[in-house]
């Protein structure tokens, strides 16, 4: 696959301004091949604007973006041959049936043979569970059925990159589950770049996450890294039995300890130690505590955040600026 240094998407200072309002400001992202990349942000953060620029539906005001190493502005058609896209509110020709819609989509990519194209349509209808509604006009479809059709049409061309704008937003919990399962299944064939505001979904399936707020990128990291503190300092939780006063003083005297909070509960001391050097912490912390022979460490571990916490912290910090 021809990519920009192994990255399927590579944006450099991508900017979009609408009538003097900055919808997106200097976005630089690199999406690795075969990853599921979650693109998070509140409404109006610039997620859909970014996606539309990647697809050539709107032009960047400044900056550039490469998909498979090709420029999105000058080689848009070649880019779109390798992309599958599901819009946030997918719209199709209402008079067409689901099968006709898929056939119409397929003919943008393939000229034949007819039987193989029809087989591919059948496969896609089966994948999203629309076989029994395949020949009904779309105008009678529910929101969930349209979304399923959207997923099917986005995959009809075996895309190297699947761009999904809020793919599970209008689905019930079962539908959401199905969509996430399809995404996980497709990981080995394609790269998935998707925007969402459902943090639980991102945490479940994404390898990497970018958080966008008011048109600016506020965080970008592998999901696990983001959940464990994203380099802004790690936090360790410890439960200690015994009088930990001296151990606390020793720890607070270390240069790598940023802060330490202690709570006494049920005869045990619960510490939350924020550090700025993980290696030093993991190397020395337990030794420093266990210098007191009467202390027992009942539990020790790095604190993991949930994505909602991380998201709210990051977006909150931006708001207060």
């Amino acid at each position: 696959m021809n990519t920009s240094n192994g990255h399927v998407i590579d944006t450099q200072e991508l900017t979009k301004t609408y009538k003097g309002v900055n919808a997106l400001q200097g976005l630089s992202l690199k999406v690795p091949r075969n990853s599921i990349y979650g693109f998070l942000g509140p409404n109006g953060a610039g997620k859909s604007t970014t996606i539309k620029m990647l697809l050539g539906l709107t032009r960047p005001t400044a900056g550039k973006a490469l998909l498979f190493g090709k420029d999105i502005t000058h080689e848009s058609l070649a880019v779109r041959r390798r992309v599958g896209y599901l819009a946030q509110d997918p719209r199709y020709y209402e008079h067409m049936t689901a099968r006709e819609t898929l056939r119409y989509t397929a003919h943008f990519f393939y000229s034949g043979p007819k039987d193989l194209i029809e087989a591919r349509l059948e496969e896609m209808l089966g994948l999203v569970g629309l076989e029994d509604k395949a020949d009904r006009p779309i105008k009678g479809f529910s929101g969930g059925e349209r979304q399923r059709l959207g997923i099917a049409q986005a995959q009809v061309n075996y895309p190297d990159l699947l761009i999904l704008d809020e793919p599970a937003a209008s689905l019930d919990p079962m539908g959401r589950h199905d969509v996430l399962e399809v995404m996980e299944r497709l990981r080995k064939y394609t790269t998935i770049f998707y925007s969402t505001h459902i943090l639980e979904d991102v945490q479940r399936v994404s390898d990497r996450v970018a958080i966008l707020n008011r048109g600016r990128l506020v965080a970008e990291a592998p999901t696990q890294e983001l959940l464990s503190g994203n380099g802004a300092g790690s936090v360790y939780n410890l439960t200690i039995q015994g009088d930990a006063t001296h151990a606390q003083s020793r720890l607070e005297g270390q240069a790598w300890v940023h802060s330490l909070s202690a709570i006494l509960k049920d005869g045990l001391t619960h510490w939350q130690v924020s550090v700025n050097d993980e290696a030093a912490a993991e190397d020395q912390m337990l030794y420093l505590i266990l210098e007191d022979r009467n202390l027992r460490v009942k539990s020790f571990g790095r604190k993991t955040h949930n994505l909602e916490e991380v998201f709210l912290n990051l977006v909150g910090e931006e708001k207060s600026k």
């Binding site: 539309k52 539906l57 058609l77 070649a78 992309v83 003919h107 990519f109 193989l116 591919r120 075996y158």
Partner: protein, 275 residues
């Protein structure tokens, strides 16, 4: 079969199927044209649109000219002129109103519904999107409102009017009517690329037609000859071989020029559309 081996088999099947599919080969400039053109034709000929349009135009154009042929008591030659001068101006003027109405939502509707954005997310060029619409709508209007009524007109005249109708000049007159419809079609589609509501499109399009019909006599001839308004007289003059304005090629060439200009404007504006 384990999940692992199932997925391996599935992957192999997918790759095998993918190998057999033949990619579309089209230039980047006209990417997706064939597919979009077929879809546009399908909307004319795969639905009831074509016979509803045909019925309307046969009833209006052939109905009125047949009534004239049946009720006017004149010499055969005069009757032929009377019938042709009823039929031909209508194929320019009345059909033009129909063309504007039929095409007013072709682009705006797709922009409003979001289907244009969906199509443009596929490997389809914006130029191909516009050209497919122009060509498919032109064929639709020409066949349903000009070709079929003209065939019926020729048959009717042969049956009801004792004077002979020269076929080649008549075809030349109909070609002028077809050019006039192409003008109103490109005008309507061009307006659709500039606005997001149907009101201004219908208003400007029909307003332009009515201006020509009602105010033609008040417009300076230097202006008039570079508009499609004299095409009514040109079509009738060519078909009947009488009353043809001496400068008749000027409005014909001017109209063809405007068609090219309006198509270019539509391509330029739609190329800059932000979805």
């Amino acid at each position: 079969m384990t999940t692992e081996s199932k997925s391996v088999v599935n992957q192999e099947l997918i790759l095998a199927a993918r190998k057999g599919l033949v990619p579309v080969r089209e230039s980047a400039r006209l990417g997706g044209f064939g597919n979009m053109f077929r879809k546009e034709l399908g909307q004319w000929w795969g639905t009831r649109t074509w016979w509803v349009q045909t019925l309307i135009w046969v009833l209006i154009l052939n109905g009125i000219s047949t009534i004239v042929a049946l009720t006017e008591a004149r010499l055969p030659g005069e009757l032929l002129v009377e019938v042709a001068q009823t039929f031909l101006p209508m194929t320019v003027g009345a059909v033009a109103i129909g063309t504007v109405i039929a095409a007013q939502g072709a682009i705006v509707g797709e922009k409003q519904l979001g289907t244009a954005a969906w199509v443009m997310s596929k490997p389809a060029s914006r130029a191909a999107f516009i050209l497919a619409k122009i060509l498919a709508h032109a064929l639709g209007v020409w066949v349903t409102a000009i070709i079929i009524p003209s065939i019926i007109f020729v048959i009717t005249v042969r049956m009801l009017v004792p004077a002979p109708l020269a076929l080649i000049p008549f075809l030349a007159g109909m070609a002028i009517a077809a050019l006039a419809q192409l003008f109103y079609l490109t005008l309507t589609l061009m307006l659709g690329t500039f606005t997001n509501s149907r009101g201004p499109i219908a208003g400007i399009g029909i307003g332009f037609i009515m201006t020509g019909l009602l105010l033609k006599g008040f417009i300076p001839s230097q202006v008039l000859i570079v508009t499609p308004w004299p095409l009514t007289d040109v079509a009738a003059g060519l078909a009947l071989g009488t009353g043809l304005p001496s400068i008749w090629p000027v409005p014909v060439l001017a109209t063809a020029f405007w068609v090219v200009v309006m198509t270019s404007l539509a391509l330029w504006r739609f190329g800059r559309e932000e979805f």
